[in-house]
């Protein structure tokens, strides 16, 4: 069954305290190669059937209106079985 993957990230201009905490932990472990960490979300939607344009449009709407909150987050990608759509 095809899998649609939606990725959501906190807006670049907003503080990401979760990412900042991980960056701090990396620093404490001596991993100084990384200047910043940001943490987002990945949604995997297993589709019962085939993926057509209508379904993708619906997923795009869901991504904008439910999976993300446009005030604080951006939908950064929607892919189907690894291919950008």
């Amino acid at each position: 069954m095809p899998i649609i993957v939606v990725e959501v990230m906190p807006k670049a201009e907003l503080l990401d305290p979760q990412g900042k905490a991980v960056a701090g932990a990396l620093h404490r472990l001596g991993k100084d190669q990384f200047s910043a960490v940001r943490i987002g979300k990945r949604f995997e939607l297993t589709v019962d059937g085939t993926v057509d344009d209508a379904l993708l449009a619906e997923v795009r709407t869901l991504a904008d209106e439910m999976f993300s909150n446009s005030v604080i987050e951006d939908v950064v990608s929607i892919t189907v079985d690894g291919e950008a759509r």
Binding site: P10, L14, L15, D16, P17, Q18, K20, A21, M66, F67, N69, V71, I72, E73
Partner: protein, 231 residues
């Protein structure tokens, strides 16, 4: 006067909110997230807690609850709606209030008695205060950082829609020290601190007079009763 308190899966302060309504002199009505029924209440409180375990985003899943369709219609028709903490998060996720709430900038959950300044004393939930009045009520949250884009912030400030501002310390990185906001009409108010926990002497924040004697939260609920009586 009947004031409904909605219980969502994971609400924690619904009973405290009901108690606050009773102490203020109105009749509390328990409302259920899964119903499409406001039971004819005159005002609505969305209480604090961790609806749906804060999954997806705080308040995001609760914002899609069956009863929220009725809450949104009632709010748009002028019914007083108060969102406390998780209830505030539900209000912004429902687009009844602008902006968003993100994880505290310092990364920690915070629980303290918080001083606030009442910036707008003309709303359905603040009319028993005077503008500029300083109050102390408990604050307890992990994701209470209020943010909005520059244009929205300017509008909130310019139109008097900042209802409460943090004093002494900004406990969570909120923009402009904003603790709570109102919609333009003044019937929908949301804030992160908890007025329902400061409504009965013996159970509130400490004051100069006595331990746990603070009841600054009571005026939120008496305000709603006043606003409804004036209609």
């Amino acid at each position: 006067m009947r004031i409904g308190v909605v219980t969502f899966p994971g609400s924690l302060d619904d009973r405290d909110a009901q108690r606050a309504v009773r102490l203020a002199g109105a009749k509390p009505v328990a409302l259920w997230h899964g119903d499409h029924d406001l039971q004819g209440v005159d005002a609505i409180v969305l209480p604090g807690g961790f609806s749906y375990g804060d999954y997806l985003r705080c308040g995001a899943i609760a914002a899609h609850s069956p009863i929220m369709a009725e809450v949104v219609s009632a709010a748009n028709a002028g019914t007083p709606v108060l969102g406390i903490c998780n209830g505030f998060q539900i209000l912004v996720e429902s687009h009844l209030l602008p902006g968003g709430l993100i994880r505290n900038d310092h990364g920690d959950f915070i629980c303290r008695d918080q001083r606030l300044r009442v910036e707008n004393a003309d709303t359905a939930w603040t009319n028993a205060f005077t503008a500029g009045q300083e109050i102390t009520i408990p604050l307890k949250n992990g994701e209470g950082g209020f943010i909005a884009d520059a244009e929205t912030l300017a509008r909130l400030e310019g139109e008097g829609q900042v209802a409460f501002r943090y004093l002494d310390v900004n406990p969570n990185g909120s923009a402009n020290d904003i603790a709570g906001i109102t919609n333009a009409r003044g019937n929908v108010v949301g804030l992160m601190p908890h007025p329902e926990h400061a409504t009965e002497a013996g159970f509130g924040p400490d004051t100069a007079a006595a331990m746990r004697s603070g009841i600054d939260g009571l005026a939120f609920f008496t305000s709603a009763i006043r606003a409804l009586a004036a209609v």
